[in-house]
Symmetry: none
Subunit: 198 residues, 4 copies
DNA sequence: TATGAATGAGTCTTCATTCAT
DNA sequence: GATGAATGAAGACTCATTCAT
């Protein structure tokens, strides 16, 4: 693996372990197995490096959710949503600490913003993707016509997001099974009544 | 106002303006109108000061939501929920940046956690309070019996929380009116069908 | 002596010993007997400190030359000029290395310039002061009327300046006696014919 | 042009633009259109490269002045001196910043000194060359016998040198015409009385 | 010979904290 | 309790130089 990539991964690793504010170039270089100077052969500044790390965080979930559009009309809506929500919940658990950290450095946030807005990759895009899927399923007659796709997407992803935020904030752990149970609760109480095959 | 209080407010002000990571004792002292040394006559350390600032952030919403229990059976459920959600949304807008910032300093987060867990004031308590209210309204027959109070609370507050997070993250502004519209959407599409008077 | 003054003198000392480009904050702090951090309690930056050191270099000769005006008509012109030129030559020897160094840092030179131009203390002022004295002596009838004061001042100070520059550049030493001999040469060959009492 | 020469010219260009202390190997390589590594295929070190650049600065004027000896008895003394002084003044304007810069790096100056002293090319040699010319003209009867050639050379070149130093130090510009006027002043007020054809 | 990634020593600067007054 | 000068550890970043290709 080339050094640039190693540096990016080292930076992500240190940020996750020590927190954004406690991440030093020295630590990053140590984990990457190179000198501090080398960091600057690949990134203009520490902030620039962070920006590249952050940039790598957003797309994963988004690309999964974009792929949802291909599943319209396939499998069951419930299964599709369950899979999506479990993936989202897991992703939120992973990304919430780093994503949230950025609020501690408004300058970094501002530059990060410029980037993801220009690339149309903001975190809000996930909700749009799920809403688009729901919309298609409503039109396909697989969900009741009263369904408001955007509101349902916001409710489901919002619940998962806040849930992950709270778990991380409280320093708890959640097993994969617990995550699935959480999603199952949402589906049973909220989504099932919206399914057309009721 | 005594100096201790002035320091606390100055710290909060600087954190909001510059971000947690860019908040220095020098800036705090300057805004508080005292010397840096004075900070240490009132707080053991900068972290200690931050902890006191953070402690002051959580309770406001919680105490409002706790008061909800007194409104069971009074007014309409819709009105009660609307008021609560608007207040919550506004509070999330205000507090998300500072609350999220803490993820950048795991040590600070850990100590903060010890505190709010000991005082039973964690951010997750807001959802519990709303769930308790909903539970009471279900029992009072003002909501359909299929309502799962905790899930509904998580969906509603989760949507508001993530919405505020996204707005702040994208650096946008939202007027009070837009906030009310957002809440109204949630109510119309999701809550109304759950009201027993339908 | 207060720390600020000690830092200024330490900086000057290190610049003289190691050269402007090889002067580090570490060395300055060490000579001043304080920590590097203390430098920044008294000066905004290393450049700012250098600016204050430089500012202290220009005025000494200038103030001596300004005092010349009081000697018009007193003593002999030759004696007055001799004293002035010896002082100037000695001063040039002392100041040429540091003054010249500044050309290596155009940014520092630019800021230095702003300062001395605003205070009307530039190095060219020395020539103006001597010219003013000569003009007065011409008008007092103690020098031949053909004397062009500004040209004579430029020739005499220019010769001394370049002489000092060459000596320093070649790393030679010049005793006080040799300096006096150099000045005496200038007086005998050039100034004497201009004196009215010839 | 070969790379070695391109590097030398690039180095000179960067030094003139950014100052000696702000000249980096990176900048030099960029201007020379080669890699930093290539610098070290042609020069032992950055200091070595600078030494070669400096070495190229001194001889130009000197060789012109050495050629003066051929003009003894030809043209008029006034014309010869005027041409020489204008060339010298222009040269001083050009070279003073770089030459002076070297005082900021005593180690570089010391090595430079070794070189030009061994080659008998020091800056003081210019004055010797002019003095030799004047001496010849005195002996040729074209200047009054009281003329002290070395003193006259020091006065004239000293005035020009200091004038150029002041102009550069004050960041001013001087047109060719102004330079000629300055020299003309020196000639009219000082040299003319020394010419034998008066 | 030309390269350019990698280096690591060195530099300036920041900042939370202390302590004598 | 209030001060603010002094601290020194730690930080990000620069840069001349090396070396494998």
């Amino acid at each position: 693996m080339n050094l640039r990539q190693r540096i990016l991964e080292a930076a992500e690793q240190v940020i996750r372990a020590n927190g954004l504010a406690r991440t030093t170039t020295k630590d990053i270089a140590h984990i990457a197995g190179c000198s501090e100077g080398s960091l600057y052969n690949h990134f203009r500044s520490k902030e620039d490096l962070f920006l590249h790390v952050l940039r790598g965080q957003l797309p994963p979930l988004l690309s999964i959710l974009m792929a949802l559009s291909k599943r319209v009309g396939q499998g069951t809506v419930r299964e599709n949503l369950k899979e999506v929500l479990v993936v989202a919940l897991e992703y939120f658990h992973d990304s919430v600490p780093m994503l949230s950290s950025v609020f501690s450095e408004p300058g970094l946030l501002a530059r990060h913003r410029e980037g993801f807005l220009a690339r149309n990759e903001g975190p809000h895009r996930t909700n749009e993707a799920v809403a688009a899927y729901l919309d298609a399923e409503v039109k396909a007659g697989r969900m009741v016509p009263e369904t408001n796709p955007r509101v349902v997407a916001d409710l489901l992803l919002g619940a998962c997001f806040q849930h992950a935020f709270h778990i991380q904030f409280c320093g708890e752990n959640e097993t994969r099974e617990e995550q699935e149970q959480y999603v199952e609760q949402l589906l049973s109480s909220f989504v099932d009544p919206l399914l057309a095959d009721g």
